[in-house]
């Protein structure tokens, strides 16, 4: 900016060049900017208001638009594209082994204390596992057990029953049912006629896939 602003030494740049300038200024400034400020930045003789009007028209219907904020102007994404500004990272994950086992134990033995869960699982139950289940609202705290230390108990929730399509926790199939349904094997349920395996107990013990039976 020269100090003798009164004397027009040069012709102002053409309007489309001015439009570019306004565009760059609006794009890069960290705050909304007034027409006066734009004029102050642009070469002498520029008319930011006119350039702005052109630019505004150019951005009509685009992904970004020019908006007036008080006396100043800013670029903003089009409101209908707001959904792009939210990154929804929806992941569906299988519940981890520790969590599902803990959940199962609570469901079958509720109300269950942490110590009881650990006794049944044979390994300690981390705070994180219980937190996760609480957060999922699949378990909740039950009444404290009237034993030394008064440990809290855990129960399954309505949401749990909902999710698993159960009316009550008592509807959970019993161990015998599980065995009969073939759920005690890590492999597929046995054929319904039971021709090959005579005793479900047997395949439970001879582990995974030893095919030497034939």
């Amino acid at each position: 900016m020269s100090d003798d602003a009164s004397r027009p030494l040069f012709d102002p740049p053409p309007l489309d060049a001015q439009e570019r300038m306004v565009e760059a200024i609006l794009f890069a400034t960290a705050e909304p900017i007034s027409v006066a400020d734009m004029n102050a930045r642009m070469p002498h003789g520029c008319d930011a208001a006119t350039a702005l009007a052109l630019l505004r028209r150019r951005y009509e219907g685009r992904g970004v638009r020019l908006v007036k904020v008080g006396e100043a102007w800013a670029m903003r994404t089009a409101p209908d594209l707001a959904f792009l500004m939210r990154r929804e990272i929806a992941e569906s994950r299988k519940l981890g082994r520790a969590a599902i086992e803990t959940l199962a134990i609570i469901a079958y033995h509720q109300p269950a204390t942490r110590a009881e869960i650990e006794e049944i699982r044979g390994v300690s139950v981390s705070r994180g596992t219980l937190d996760q289940l609480l957060e999922l609202e699949w378990i909740r705290f039950g009444r404290r057990r009237e034993t030394p230390g008064r440990p809290v108990t855990f129960m399954v929730t309505e949401a749990f029953l909902d999710h698993f399509g159960l009316e009550t926790a008592r509807d959970l199939p019993g161990l015998k049912d599980l065995r009969e349904a073939g759920l005690l094997e890590s492999t597929l349920p046995e054929p319904s006629d039971g021709a090959t395996e005579t005793d479900t107990q047997v395949d439970m013990f001879d582990a995974e896939g030893n095919d030497d039976a034939g």
Partner: protein
Amino acid sequence: MPEPQEEADAVAERVAAEALIVDVDGFEGPLDLLLMLSRTQKVDLRQISVLALARQYLAFVERARTLRIELAADYLVMAAWLAFLKSRLLLPPDPDEEGPSGEEMAAHLAFQLERLEAMREAAAKLMARDRLGREIFARGLPETVERVRSIRYTATLVDLMQAYARVRTRDEFRPFVLDRHAVMSMEEALDRMRGLIGYSGDWTDLAGYMPDGWSEDAERRRSAMASHFAASLELVKEGRIDIRQGALFSPIEIRARRDE
């Protein structure tokens, strides 16, 4: 090289050397100093006289010494190396000498100088580019992108039941580890019998070796008997006892072996 030129160079060299001494700290090491000195030769670095450069450098170091300017060790190391190089370049090559010739060493030094110069120029070009935040600008008013992470955990009733079954199945395996109240292992029986066998010189009924509390309950008795019998056979194999049974289903008797 024509004579007057050489003289002019010598003058320039002296002037430069004097200027250099004033701020030896301003140099980024001996290579940087060499590069500066080489500029006084006013030739392409590829044509530089390394011999002349070595002389310049050594003169510089000498001068620094007379002015009692402390030079860092690496400057002195370079001086020693250049003195060596100078002698290599001046003396006729010794055919028995191992290692690179003076010319090769000189060529490598010239290469190093050229490479350093090239990197300096590249750095200058790089810094002179239109740079982000100086000539080119990013969005000044970025809109925050909200990150909504929603993890949906899934588990089916089958998962749940399988998990429970898994836990319970593990439970049924536990007799092998935990439910020992009805089972006595052969190792246990063997340990007991090793301790007891020394006292029995005569044939004794194996049933007499059953530990207390293992003969009342049938299940426990069976296990204890079986393990003690197996342990006896083990001791027979070791040659520590003899074993006999008079008739089918009659008591099994053992005694410690005498002949030892």
